[in-house]
């Protein structure tokens, strides 16, 4: 079907509008991240000096520092990695077996378990905030990486089970049948035959769990007393009642994009399946 020049121009104009909506809000923030620490233009104009000094300060500390204030996000990156790493380990460890059972076995009880996961996923996190906070306090897990990771595991578990079940479903069951004929037990077949084949799927699931923990804000806010401040807390923490460091906030915000960019670049095609909890492939 031939498309006229007018149609193409209209499309281009609309694409311009979409780009404006999507990208313009970043522009000012980006310029501020490139300005010298402590300087923000007081009108809509380019900063007087463009430099990467703020990025350096945010990553390495030093540079422009107010007495007693450390503006580096390095400790926060470490905290984020620790919490997300633990959450990935816990989530995958807990759910890989269950996902396999959901994929291979049929029983009415399993249906119930699967629905329970849906209920868990759709429960607002804030509803659990009080009892979880009390529990973490009782077991002295407030302000510990493992405490926050245990909560992030709860948020990730349903998605992890769904995604991995989807990946197991694509592996033909004949492989286990062959293994069974050769005398392998179910666990042995799972370990030696199925898991290696499902490894890419496990990696994709791990990435989803990682990012879910990486961007989580509310439970981090509730459970951190400073020692485990993750990146979202650090970014929001550049602004408090006593001070605002907008330049550093902007630089840290853009730096924090990197893992998400990598994820979209490498695993973009799994995104829809993850976003819809495996409902759409």
């Amino acid at each position: 079907m031939a498309r006229s020049l007018g149609w193409r121009l209209l499309l281009l104009a609309l694409m311009g509008l979409v780009s404006l909506w999507s990208l313009f809000p970043f522009l000012w923030y980006f310029l501020v991240s490139l300005a010298l620490p402590g300087s923000i233009p007081r009108s809509l104009s380019l900063p007087s000096t463009l430099s990467l000094r703020t990025y350096a300060a945010v990553l390495l500390g030093g540079g422009y520092l107010e007495a007693g204030t450390n503006l580096s996000i390095l400790p926060n990156i470490v905290n984020s990695l620790k919490v997300a790493g633990l959450a990935v380990g816990l989530s995958l460890g807990l759910s890989v077996g269950a996902a396999y059972v959901f994929s291979r076995f049929r029983a009415s009880g399993l249906r119930l378990g699967f629905n329970a996961l849906l209920v868990v996923r759709m429960t607002p996190g804030v509803s659990l905030a009080v009892p979880i906070f009390l529990m973490m306090t009782r077991y002295r897990l407030v302000n510990t990486h493992i405490g926050l990771a245990l909560v992030h595991t709860l948020l990730a578990l349903p998605l992890a089970v769904w995604l991995m079940k989807g990946f197991f479903d694509t592996i033909p069951v004949e492989l286990e049948e062959a293994a069974a004929i050769d005398g392998a037990t179910l666990l042995l077949a799972l370990r030696k035959v199925i898991l290696p084949l499902a490894a890419p799927g496990l990696a994709v699931t791990a990435c989803f769990v990682f990012l879910g923990s990486y961007i989580e804000y509310m439970f981090a806010l509730i459970l951190s007393r400073g020692a485990i401040n993750t990146l979202p807390l650090a970014i929001a923490g550049y602004k408090s009642e006593h001070h605002v460091f907008y330049n550093e906030m902007a630089a840290a915000s853009f730096l924090s994009m990197i893992p998400l960019m990598l994820f979209f670049y490498l695993l973009g095609r799994y995104m829809v399946s993850g976003l819809s909890f495996g409902a759409l492939k």
Partner: protein, 297 residues
């Protein structure tokens, strides 16, 4: 399809594999929910050392007071506006991408995809502070722009518009979610019905309403359900941008629960709010499961 034989031994192994996550969910989900229900009938304020049974008093504060209903209504207002706007924009952007795929070389639509998705690559907390900054009186681009046009400037996030400005951020941040799902849905549609409609002389507009939209229905339903429940419990933007203020003008059920628990330290009242917050999503999930069951039967 099941594992051949399904011997008792395999069933035992399956049971063990399920027991682990089940135990975890009992400890970190079922037990907290039970405790939430227990606390919601009590007055628990650590600052005053109270821990007394108060019957339905906590629920009375939510359902018998205008303040409580205000939180409930704002939750639904926020959800309704954000979901419908990001759905409309996501669908429009997806259709535009599909049209660009036809009219231009592939790189153009790839670039468009990248541009549309960008807000989602930002950590929500970072998007929250970025938009807060945009609305500040002396430093933000919104007021700079207003000044440039000769209009008055204002710290918008302490105005009556604050709630709607947070919604705008939510719409901006989550349109990519709708976009990605709807675009995938559009691209997976079979080609033939559209071709047939064209042969029959249907215009672009007509074939969109009569052919594309009906075929897209299952995808739309999934996208709307997930987005509705996620938006209903939104916390990050609201907390970072307004903390429920000014006054309570942007306090939804989620924010009310959080504030009551961790600012006012009224844990019993907060538990009642937490329980009230769960009603809507659980109703939706059960409705969804019921519909699914009926379709299967």
């Amino acid at each position: 399809m099941t594992v051949a034989g399904m011997g008792t031994q395999n069933r035992i192994v399956a049971g063990i594999l399920l027991a682990l996550p089940a135990a975890y969910l009992v400890a970190f989900y079922a037990y907290p929910i039970a405790q939430l229900a227990y606390l919601s009938f009590r007055d628990v304020e650590p600052a005053y050392g109270t821990n007394d049974f108060v019957g339905l008093a906590n629920f009375r504060e939510i359902f018998a007071m205008p303040g409580g209903w205000g939180h409930i209504l704002r939750s639904f207002l926020y959800t309704g506006i954000c979901v419908s706007a990001s759905f409309a924009l996501g669908l429009a952007f997806a259709l535009l991408t599909a049209a660009a795929e036809e009219a231009f070389p592939a790189q153009v639509s790839t670039l468009l995809r990248l541009i549309v998705v960008t807000p989602m690559i930002f950590i929500p907390a970072a998007a929250g502070v970025m938009w807060s900054f945009a609305y500040t009186e002396h430093y933000g681009w919104v007021n700079h722009l207003l000044a440039l046009l000769g209009l008055p400037t204002y710290p918008w996030l302490v105005s009556g518009a604050a709630f709607y400005l947070v919604m705008l951020t939510d719409i901006w941040g989550w349109t990519p979610f709708m976009y990605l799902i709807l675009l995938a849905g559009l691209q997976s549609l079979p080609r033939e019905p559209l071709e047939a409609a064209r042969v029959d002389g249907a215009g672009t507009w007509q074939s969109f309403w009569q052919v594309v939209l009906p075929m897209l229905r299952p995808v739309i339903l999934i996208a709307l359900t997930i987005k509705t429940l996620d938006t209903y419990r939104a916390f990050d933007y609201l907390w970072i941008m307004t903390q429920g203020g000014p006054g309570t003008s942007s306090t939804t059920l989620t924010i009310a629960t959080y504030k009551t628990a961790f600012m006012e330290l009224r844990l019993g009242q907060a538990s009642a709010y937490g329980l009230a917050t769960m009603i809507f999503p659980l109703a939706v999930v059960n409705l969804f499961l019921l519909l699914q069951q009926r379709r299967a039967a």
